[in-house]
Amino acid sequence: MNTTDCRHARLHIGAAPHELPAEVETHLAGCADCRRFRDETVSLDARVRSALEVPLTHFRARPQVRSRRFALAASMVLALLLAGGAWWLNPRPALAGEVTSHVLHEAGSWDRQQVLSEADIDSVLQQAGVKFDSKLPVVYAMACPFHGRQVPHFVVQTDEGPMTVMLLAHEKVAARREFSEHGFRGVLLPAGNGAVAVLSRGAAPSEALERTVVAGVE
């Protein structure tokens, strides 16, 4: 172990585990201790993100009017909300954006290689109160806060490469809808009483893969 290189690597890993310079990546290839430190940090980061995503159920739904200044402010925000009526009637694009945004912040999930046990998967499903029979190897499983609820977030290995699967039991999607945001190709699908999102960093998920995922949702 080269102590100087390890300290340099750990500074970068500890500061920005998803933004490592080339020399740190090179160092990681030959240093098992630093690779373990990186894996621990990526895992910690997923928890930090979950912790930062505080539930919003206790926040007030609309601006509070406290003075003429705030009355003006509130009226403008209300106008914004009214103008957004069309969005409420057709929320799917926003849902796709939020799913993508969530996945972007768990970028480390794509690096996982080790297939998880059924017990690991069941633990996540139980936290979210959802049933899912994954017919594909799961390499990442986390119950993530999303819209104030715990949502199973999986990365599965497929012939088409790793895919993120999010089980959105409390979201409604009227029909299949493809989307492409921030370099991700994905699809929102009605599944059971809710919806499921499947995302890829490469080509859009195939219809066969979509059918496999939906078939696993109870």
């Binding site: 912790a51 509070q64 705030f70």
Partner: protein, 174 residues
């Protein structure tokens, strides 16, 4: 030929954008202010300011950092204008603010408490990075720091959180 970039003058797309990002703006403000009510006021002011300045947003893909920056400035402005008292960390925890403590497993609540107790100089860049998606270079530009200083602050923030997570802390950097 690519069309020339335009500001987001259309009300409906801009409104959709604000609605999509509002949850994370509230969270970001909450972690900055450590006070739910102040966070709500900050986001309210942010939405108004963003609406007035929507022509400045040339690329919707930049909306997130743009809005987070407005949140930061509105937060600072609110304290400047109202001279609000600073928040005592212990009192926040004692209050058991439901926005910060009511959901999630015990480990997550411990982690929230630990993040809450981070000094502001560590907490702010961490939240900007993890929740806001800022790169270290963007954080440095936003906070008026060198990138090396940002790396050190982020490293120390995570190093403190490692112990909460039951991990051995790394050797500190100079």
């Amino acid at each position: 030929m690519k069309p020339a970039p335009r500001g987001m003058s259309g009300a409906a797309p801009f409104t959709r954008l604000l609605e999509m990002l509002r949850p994370d703006l509230l969270r970001f403000a909450c972690w900055l202010a450590r006070d739910r009510s102040v966070a709500e006021d900050v986001v309210q002011e942010t939405l108004i300011r963003a609406w007035k300045s929507r022509e400045e947003l040339k690329d919707p893909a930049s909306a997130r950092p743009w809005l987070f920056t407005i949140v930061r400035r509105e937060h600072a402005r609110l304290y400047e204008r109202k001279r609000l008292p600073t928040v005592d960390v212990d009192s926040v925890e004692a209050l058991g603010d439901p926005a910060l403590a009511s959901e999630g497993d015990a480990g997550l609540q411990d982690l929230r408490g630990a993040i809450m107790q981070l000094p502001g100089e560590y907490r702010e860049p961490l939240v900007m990075q993890v929740l806001g998606g800022f790169s270290t270079a963007e954080i440095a530009a936003e906070l008026g720091l060198t990138q090396a200083a940002v790396l050190t602050r982020l490293f120390r923030a995570r190093n403190r959180l490692r112990t909460i997570y039951g991990l051995e802390p790394a050797e500190d950097v100079e």
